[in-house]
Amino acid sequence: EPEVTQTPSHQVTQMGQEVILRCVPISNHLYFYWYRQILGQKVEFLVSFYNNEISEKSEIFDDQFSVERPDGSNFTLKIRSTKLEDSAMYFCASSELFGGSTDTQYFGPGTRLTVL
């Protein structure tokens, strides 16, 4: 069964460093998302992406964050200058289309980001 994959599973970085989190969505999916979950807290929406542009972003997704689909398969989240409070689990998700059962978002296994 097709699934969303994410790499790395765990990333440790120093405060102020740039990180890139990678995701490979399900191959026929057109909508891509990033969510994050700070330990012990709820899952929060960061950004949605369709047709090579951001469709919606939350207030968390400030200028330090960017997303890109550099090729036909990868979807990346970049954090330019990491802060301690960026430590969280980052989930990538994808959905096939909008409307009907194809709206369902399927999640990757997550990348645990630890900022020291």
Partner: protein, 118 residues
């Protein structure tokens, strides 16, 4: 803005018994979807069940079923014949349905930890 509330931080159930997890939501939208996702200790988010708001019939998936009460804005998850592998955090989530060509975000509740005991 939509909000999702899960009032039970933790629940436990004996193996083979039935348990119900509660979820309420607040929205002014008429067209939307509701989901239950499961997050086991591995922290992978796994879809359990989905409900379209325009459907009166409650969704079922094997041992999992929902009680969707649209007027009350309530969406509870019933797990029958609980198994040890059901031990996980369960998140209720809301997504509005639009006909625009962009993806819609999920709004999650705080989650309920379910422990299945042998």
């Amino acid at each position: 803005a939509q909000t999702v509330t899960q009032s039970q931080p933790e629940m436990s159930v004996q193996e083979a018994e039935t348990v119900t997890l509660s979820c309420t939501y607040d929205t002014s939208e008429n067209n939307y979807y509701l989901f239950w996702y499961k997050q086991p200790p591995s922290r992978q988010m796994i879809l359990v069940i989905r409900q379209e708001a325009y459907k009166q019939q409650n969704a079922t998936e094997n041992r999992f079923s929902v009680n969707f009460q649209k007027a009350a804005k309530s969406f509870s998850l019933k797990i029958s014949d609980s198994q040890l592998g059901d031990t996980a955090m369960y998140f209720c989530a809301f997504m509005k349905r639009t006909y625009m060509e962009y993806g819609n975000k999920l709004v999650f509740g705080a989650g309920t930890i379910l422990r299945v005991k042998s």
